[in-house]
């Protein structure tokens, strides 16, 4: 009689990684839809293109690494990396900029470090930072003007040909400085009211951007509700950003207001979809709070006093560096112990 011989537990309730990643993709859809409505077809084209490049490069590198291609492609993690880049890149970013971002994310940041689960840095953000530094013009001048899709935004064909043409910059009339960029560069010489009169801000906080951020917030809360991500990183992230903004930027004539920090740029996408990449994030709940807060603080610092209008990629990468350190000092207190065993073996004992 040959029964299965296995070690306990025998019962499993796996929500497989592939399904976890699928939920991430689903939760990002409201944001993508909002992007498409307010900024045209660019993001959708980017997302499709980036996912395609991500899957292709993942397949090739897996083959080169002599790993089972189908097995790993099925986990949907490469698709998520492609998706996140597609959502983050400027709408009119030329095709090759996106491709370079995705390939460096998958090949260098993910697979050359050992593949899924072994990458110390957030792959999508490695790709993003790389193209941001390498192609600053393409990465700053290609942000679409916020126009409703059905109110004279460039059509699907026009957008596609602009992206496919490979020109560093898109048609002038289609693009516009992002609200964060505008505020950062104008506030030194103008009052807040003068700056905010620019059309990029619209009537509320930041035309279009507020909706996009709201949609990503909703999708993120869905992920928290489904327990696919824990609330600690987004909470730390947003709290860090808000506390910094309230502490330093209360004067709108000097610094961008809190509402702009929260609802413009990649804030919500970063807080719920990018910083929460578990592989490169801190481990314990306490560690996640610190990790998230660090990203929030860094974003404020770079946005306010740095050279870049937005800073999700750099902040995430910088905190990725700090993860092993955070992990060493934030283990939870185990049952039956007086305190947590911090540090490394052989030093402090708990």
């Amino acid at each position: 009689m040959a029964f299965v011989q296995q070690s306990s537990p025998h019962a499993r309730n796996a929500r497989p990684t592939s399904r976890v990643m699928l939920w991430v993709i689903i939760a990002a859809l409201p944001g993508l839809i909002a992007q498409t409505i307010f900024f045209g077809w660019g993001n959708l084209i980017n997302v499709i293109w980036c996912i395609a490049v991500a899957l292709a490069s993942e397949a090739i590198i897996l083959k080169l690494r002599k790993k089972p291609v189908r097995f790993f492609l099925k986990d949907n993690t490469a698709a998520v990396t492609g998706l996140l880049l597609g959502l983050s890149l400027p709408q009119f970013a030329p095709w090759w900029v996106s491709a370079i971002a995705v390939i460096s994310a998958i090949v260098i940041a993910k697979q050359l470090y050992g593949g899924l689960g072994s990458n110390p840095f957030n792959p999508a953000m490695v790709g993003y930072a790389l193209v941001l530094i390498s192609f600053p013009v393409a990465m700053t001048t290609n942000w679409a003007e916020p126009t409703l899709l059905w109110q004279g935004a460039p059509g699907l064909g026009e957008t596609l040909s602009s992206i496919a043409s490979g020109h560093q910059t898109a048609v002038d009339g289609w693009t516009m400085a992002t609200p964060l960029d505008e505020y950062k560069h104008k506030i030194a010489t103008h009052t807040a009211d003068e700056v905010l009169s620019h059309p990029t801000f619209g009537d509320a906080v930041a035309r279009g951007w507020e909706w996009v951020n709201g949609a990503f917030l909703a999708g993120g809360l869905l992920l928290v509700g489904l327990r696919i991500i824990s609330w600690h990183i987004p909470a730390g992230f947003l709290a860090g950003l808000a506390v910094m903004s309230l502490a330093f930027g209360s004067n709108a004539d000097q610094y961008a207001p809190l509402s702009l920090h929260l609802l413009a740029g990649g804030t919500m996408l970063g807080a719920f979809f990018i910083a929460t990449d578990p592989v490169s994030a801190a481990t314990s709940h306490q560690g996640k709070l610190i990790y998230g807060a660090g990203i929030g603080v860094l974003i404020y610092l770079i946005r306010t006093w740095g050279n870049y209008p937005d800073a999700v990629a750099f902040s995430v990468l910088l905190m990725n560096f700090a993860v092993p350190f955070i992990d060493h000092f934030t283990p939870p207190r185990t049952y039956g112990h007086h305190k947590a065993r911090r540090g490394v073996p052989g030093k402090s004992q708990g």
């Binding site: 029964f3 296995q6 537990p9 025998h10 578990p278 039956g336």
Partner: protein
Amino acid sequence: MSQLWDFSGGIHPPENKRQSTAGPIRPAALPERLVLPLQQHIGVPAEPLVHVGDRVLKGQKIADVTGGLGVPVHAPTSGIVEQIALRPVPHPSGMEDWCIVLKPDGEDQWLPLEPVRDYKKLERDQVLELIREAGVSGMGGAGFPTNVKLRPPRDRKVQTLILNGAECEPYITADDMTMRERADEVIAGLKVMSWILRPERCVIGIEDNKPEAIQAMGKAIKGTQIELAVIPTKYPSGGEKQLIQILTGMEVPSGGIPADIGVMCQNVGTAVAVSRAVFEGKPLISRIVTMTGEGVSDPGNFEALLGTPVQSLLTQAGFDADRTNRLVSGGPMMGFTLNSLEVPITKTSNCVIAASERELPTPAPEQPCIRCGQCADACPMELLPQQLFWYSKAGEFDKAEHLNLFDCIECGACSYVCPSSIPLVQYYRHAKGEIRVQRAEQLKADRARERFEARQARLEREQEEKELRRKERAKAAAEAQARKKAEAEQAEADGTATDERAAKAALVEQALARKKAKAEQGPATDSDSQPAPEPPRPDLEALEKQLTQARSKLETMQGMLEEAKAQQADNVDKLERAVAKNHDRVKRAEEALTEARQLLANATESQSTE
């Protein structure tokens, strides 16, 4: 209602308990053979008291532990001892162990029983002995001898006695059915244990998914001081540490036992066994086992004689081998797979699941860990399973240990929720095993070193003693020779006494004359009166060498001390002492040298004056 606390983590797997609670507990049919492992408890195996061919009565002690931890084994029915041999036993390793094989004669003839009506008239030790003689060991899982557990160290007074009726593992309903049908026996046994321990509080913990058991137990405790705590259903609430936390809010210290915080847990089945041992004088010869899973058509609970082969019980529950994919002894979370239908029911078997592929599917292939942290959220011990996995897999066992690997209770909650289908518990078991091996090896190496050092010390001591003895012998020999010589001289002297005396007188005269002459010659020290035959000529060269050696040593020591001070090492004190010592040594060497030089100078001077 008593106050309850929550434990962190935990999971809610499908309970799957309904299947086996539809009918009452059924008495199992007498099998053809009973196989009784000599070790059904924690401790040393029992030794057979019977021989092959002996006829034994029901309840007769057939094996016992003479020295060490353990309880006896009894014949579950009357019959003939057929074999004492190696047989497959229920163990995760699938190993064989020594068993007594009993062929029942069908008469089921009891040994004369000696029930105790009023146990309170006995000494507590007598009752404990009674429990031991009845072969009672923990029936919840580990099988620790109950009489030993009921006698905690003097400084560990049990304030809270907990009866564990949580039965949090899916599928298992043995305790549930016992409480439903034998509530009075459970309470009777609990009262005996309570009388032995004299706790301030006695509480029964039952998960809220067992309303019938709660009702039955509630009825049985009427008029007693015993509390009934209905706890939320959450795996692993029945884990000893978790149940203690739920009911008392206290945590068992890491590496400690519940008695350290004045708590003791006992199992429902054990309470029944104690009750029977005391009030009926019956030893532990049967237990309630749940037979369930989709591989049996008629699941339920059986009261089975110990030693009944699993196959016999499965057959009675309507076993279909073709539908069965795996056979689990215990629950689906912590049980182990059986590889043979021959294994017997023992004191610790509470459940056998004949599981189909559908209900306990073969896990998907392991994927890389993405550190999602679901395991950490599920862990009832507040560990970081993902980090433990990482370090266990990488062989960095010291780091795994640092993150409290040994606090893992192997409940399987982490593996249950892992989206990457990683057999986490298996990794932890491996790491624990490796660490234990390393520790054993370290201990062995330490002992070997100690042995070597002791031998070295002994050899040195022996050498010294030998040297000492040799010296003593030499001295004795010299003395003996001196004595002999003296005797010989004496003998000679007796012969030439007069001559001798004359010679002596002459010698004295000569000496006096010399002295006189010297005194006339000039002043001279006293020592000159009798110049040493060979003035001590100190070895200047050797002394100088000694001094340079001492100085260089002092220098190195000082260097080491400074380095240690710079690094704030903890051996600074020691080094300081060593430096001071070397300082003295140098000083002494210097003194010795100057003294020697002076002496030499004096000697030459005196020679010249002479």
